[in-house]
Structures are given as structure tokens and as C-alpha cells.
Symmetry: C2
DNA sequence: TTTAAGTTTCAGAAAATACTGAAAATATAG
DNA sequence: CTATATTTTCAGTATTTTCTGAAACTTAAA
């Protein structure tokens, strides 16, 4: 096995392990890594062979990755099988992940907080007011963070991060 | 059960469910939520009773929350049992979570990328150069994002977010 | 059509993760 | 020191998540 192939394999394996920490499953992370470092689009069978996973597993995770927007199907002329390639633009990858996290993590959290804030709004006891204040503060923050992420992730390109770094100094 | 108690219970249950999405376990999320809305510190037994979980489970998750810095032990005079209270300052909570995520998610990712970048540095083939470029770009981005988070989370208070929002508009 | 290639689904198996309960360890009071 | 209260640990169990493999389904060539 060439040095290059070794490095790729290592990357794919390690990225898969990281996926777990992140809360996305190992296979999905590995497929994403594999396509990220593949110079050409791969078929389901390529992926099954490369990662030693079943067809069902490969298929499910490919569809999930497509639905995230992290990879896309490509049609190669004269080929029956579907091929897949990864989005390779770092900034776009970031935007996709940021949006997905917002959708799956912070928006539901904000919704829960908002519900509780509304339900405690009319209560008069000191303890209830305390609760209301606490949850309002959390929600206000989450909402603000959400809107920042949304704006950041809607930019076409990140000329932005260096500017933010400047505001911070 | 009072309306207030219902709201709290609902918050605790929903926050626990959200925890799963987030990759932190249900019990840990529920204990954190419970302490966040509790006006006074609680003992392990209080928590076991309130959430119907075992002593082992409560103990383990309390220790984890303490190690994150999201809750702390407090000593009440004349009491033998340990009591726990949550950090209630929203900005501090955010800083803790941001640091922990950086430590557990982005730093390991950056390390993996850096390794692969280094190992592919000396290779000469076109494909190897492509790999090197791709992974370098990812790592550069992750590193920048990391340093932004570090700076944001090291501020004493968030007078910051509104400023960032301004840069974005 | 019919036939074969390719894709999707899903029930059951395997693996990973979280939880319980009780024993061991530690701390405090008397 | 002894007795008792409290905390911690951990082996075994339960639950959740992920994966496999084969059958059902879809598509397109012949």
C-alpha cells in the first residue's frame, strides 16, 4: 500500500472515530472522510469495499449525507451505478454543519425554553418569577447565538472570520 | 402539583430529551436542568427522588457535571450530605460549554488533520498534493474557528455578541 | 414485455452506551 | 476506636443505537 493510501486510510479511520464524539455515527463520518479525500466520485460498491460495511449501512448513510448536503450524487455517462462526491469547499462545509446543528440542536432548545417562559409568564410567586427570569435569560442568549450563526452561515465566503478576530482583540 | 412544579417538571423532562440530540446523556441533562431551576442546592437523595434514578447514576453524573464546571458542591452548615447547585449565569454556562466542546471536539479534529497534513507534506504526486491542500484548508479553518471560540469564551461578560452582530450586518 | 442491474427497506443481530443495586471505601460523630 | 452516615465504584443488566443481509422494489436495457 502506498504512503498516500496509508495516509488516507488513517484519515478516514480517525475521522470516523471523531464522528462518535460529535454524535454522528462512525460510518457516516467515514464515508464523508473517504469522499473528501477521493479525487473522483465513488459508487456504493466502492464504499462498501473500502470501508468493509454492508450495502444497507452504506446506502442509509449516503442518503443521510446527501440530505445534509455534504455530498451529492453525480451521473457519469455510460455508467449505470450512482456515484457520489463530497462538497470540498471548506467554507461551504462549515455553513452546512452550522445550519444543521442550529436546526437540530439550538432551535429545539430555544423552543423548549420559549414554552416554559410563556407558561411561567403569568405566575406571581417569587419562585416563579425567578424561574421565568432564569429561562428568559437562557432563551434570549440562545436566540441571539442562533441569529449570529444564521448570518455567518449565510455569507457566500468567509472573508468574515478574520474580521471577527479583529473585533475580539 | 402546582402549576410551577408542572412547568419545572416539563422543562427537566424536555431538556433531558434534548440532551440526547446533543450527545450528552439524558440523566446528566436532566440533573443539570433540575439544578438550574431549583432555588436551593439539592442532595443526591433529592435528585434520586425527583428524577427516579439510582444512586450510582446520580453520583456519576453529578461528578461529571462538577468536572465540567456546570454545577458545584456546596457545604451547608449542620448538614452531613453534599449539596449541589448549578452555575446560573448564562454567559458563564456558555463559556463552559464552548470550552468543553472545543476541547472534546474541535481540538482532536485539528490534531488528526495536522497529522495527515504533516505526513503528506513531502509527497510529490499530484494526488498527494491535492490531499495536502484539502486537509490543510480544513485545518486552517478549524484552527481559526478554535481561536475565535477561545477568545469569545475568555471574555468576562458578553457585551460581545451584539458587536459581532454589528460586524455581520 | 421480460430480464437483469441497481437501490431501498427493514427485521433481527451485534455493538455501544447508560443504568441499577449492592458491596467497598471513605468520612464523621460519639 | 467503633458505629453510623455518606459517597464511590463496578459487575451485571437494560436500553439505545448501529449494522447486516436478504427480500422487495425500481429502473432501464434488450
Amino acid at each position: 500500500m502506498s504512503e498516500l493510501a496509508k495516509i488516507k486510510d488513517n484519515f478516514v479511520a480517525q475521522w470516523g472515530a471523531l464522528g462518535s464524539q460529535w454524535g454522528i455515527n462512525r460510518t457516516m463520518a467515514m464515508i464523508h472522510a473517504l469522499l473528501l479525500v477521493s479525487p473522483n466520485p465513488l459508487t456504493t460498491d466502492d464504499i462498501m469495499a473500502e470501508l468493509s460495511v454492508s450495502r444497507g449501512n452504506a446506502n442509509t448513510n449516503l442518503r443521510d449525507l446527501v440530505s445534509w448536503g455534504l455530498i451529492r450524487q453525480v451521473i457519469l455517462k455510460g455508467e449505470r451505478k450512482d456515484h457520489y462526491e463530497a462538497e470540498k469547499d471548506t467554507w461551504k462545509i462549515f455553513c452546512i454543519v452550522a445550519r444543521e446543528r442550529k436546526r437540530r440542536e439550538t432551535e429545539p432548545a430555544s423552543q423548549v425554553l420559549k414554552d416554559c417562559v410563556d407558561r411561567s409568564k403569568h405566575l406571581k410567586t417569587a419562585e416563579a418569577k425567578e424561574l421565568h427570569k432564569q429561562l428568559s435569560s437562557l432563551n434570549e442568549f440562545v436566540t441571539l447565538a442562533n441569529s449570529i450563526m444564521e448570518k455567518v452561515a449565510s455569507k457566500e465566503k468567509s472573508s468574515l472570520l478574520p474580521k471577527i478576530l479583529k473585533v475580539l482583540s
